[in-house]
């Protein structure tokens, strides 16, 4: 499950980078916009999937949902670069939250008064 999410995230990131690369090469405005927006959708979905994973573990961070909302708004108003940055930030927050859960699953006991 973990692996799968990560793989799709990486795949979509690679796809986006490639798309962006093509975009700047060909510089075909309207068409490339549609492609970038397509990359956005899959990156956004992967980041949201990771957020849900963190939430399921009980470790979601406060601002992750807000970042994803802002990303959507930015994408809709045509600010693709900003939108992708926000998605990446949200995705990283959830990665960190999941790593935090892993750390804490063995660390919390050391704090219990004996």
């Amino acid at each position: 499950m973990f692996k799968k999410v990560k793989t799709t995230a990486v795949a979509s990131l690679v796809a986006t980078i490639m798309t962006l690369g093509l975009m700047s090469y060909a510089n075909v405005g309207i068409v490339s916009n549609a492609i970038a927006s397509d990359g956005f959708e899959s990156s956004w979905a992967a980041a949201d999937e990771q957020r849900k994973m963190a939430a399921k573990l009980g470790f979601e961070w406060r601002d992750t949902k807000k970042l994803l909302k802002k990303a959507k708004a930015a994408n809709e108003s045509g600010e693709n670069e900003k939108a992708m940055k926000l998605v990446a930030k949200a995705h990283e927050q959830s990665n960190d939250a999941i790593a935090q859960q892993e750390r804490e699953s063995s660390a919390w006991q050391s704090r219990v008064p004996k």
Binding site: G58, F59, W61, R62, T64, R111, P113
Partner: protein, 293 residues
């Protein structure tokens, strides 16, 4: 070990050593399982209480129900003045009015709760049939729904008022949470405990980081209150809120300030957290509603 070594140099047969080893190992395992059986909620509670009574030796144990004012003389004086005209009085009055006003089906809260609502000391409890923790606020809404009324929002408003009235009626009752010898109840307690000690959020804090090891320290100008007695006085009037709030509203606030997502009030995990945290204060008095900064 030494004993075995000596025997070895004397050259006994191997099977005899094996037998002795097995006896020793079995005895050790038995001893350990006895210890782990008895290292349950009871000894957790004793260690928890001792942690705070040793950290704040000047505070009588019965006084921890007064939160930060139990360890901070200057702010205690201000607080005692506030308590002379308590800001939660309005909430008690409006809770009393709601208590007495019949539902549409002409029944009242008194048909759900005995003793004129003085039942605070029965909550939270583990319901063995439902296999979940039942809190006072959950029971209030279940009473409403059973009588055809809309459930109330859990954080503030009418819910906090009714809870304030019932807590007021119950002042002086002992905190006496029971964790039955039942694997499901134990698991719920353990989840509440793990939640309390786990670091969460972008800022990476556990509840205990602030209210245990950090209690008594200053965050800017505010002293952090000790966790012992933490659930005794809810709902609470908080000047910062400009009104009343329930215990789970406070849980949500404390989660959010470390940039963790808050859980819904009365969610399973917050009820289990309440079970654990209230159990830690067993033996102290319920003294709600309260007033805090």
């Amino acid at each position: 070990m030494i004993f075995l070594k000596i025997r070895l140099t004397e050259g006994p047969n191997e099977s005899e050593i094996m037998k002795k080893l097995i006896v020793v190992i079995t005895a050790t395992i038995t001893a350990f399982s006895w210890i782990s059986l008895h290292a349950g909620p009871d000894s957790d509670q004793a260690a928890f209480e001792k942690y705070f009574t040793s950290k704040f030796p000047d505070t009588p144990v019965s006084d921890f129900i007064n939160g930060v004012y139990s360890i901070d003389k200057p702010s205690r004086e201000q607080w005692e003045e506030i308590e002379e005209f308590p800001p939660y009085e309005l909430a008690i009055d409006s809770g009393k009015a709601a208590w007495n006003k019949p539902f549409a089906n002409s029944k009242t809260y008194a048909d759900c709760f005995e003793n004129e609502g003085a039942v605070r000391g029965n909550y939270p409890y583990w319901d063995a049939d439902r296999k979940e923790v039942v809190t006072l606020e959950l029971a209030i809404n279940e009473c409403r729904v059973a009588n055809g009324e809309e459930p109330l929002k859990y954080n503030k408003g009418k819910m906090a008022d009714i809870s304030a009235y019932m807590s007021y009626q119950s002042r002086g009752q002992k905190i006496n949470v029971v964790i039955p010898d039942d694997p499901d109840a134990m698991a719920a307690y353990e989840r509440g405990k793990e939640f309390y000690y786990s670091k969460r959020g972008q800022l990476n804090f556990s509840c205990f980081d602030c209210h245990g090891s950090g209690s008594g320290n200053l965050v800017r100008a505010d002293k952090l209150s000790p966790a012992l007695g933490h659930t005794s006085h809810f709902p609470v009037y908080r000047s910062k809120w400009g009104g009343m709030g329930t215990l789970h509203r406070r849980f949500g606030g404390c989660n959010k300030q470390v940039r963790a997502a808050a859980f819904k009030p009365q969610s399973q995990i917050y009820r289990e957290l309440e079970l654990f945290l209230t159990y830690m204060s067993n033996g102290l008095d319920f003294n709600g509603p309260g007033a805090r900064k």
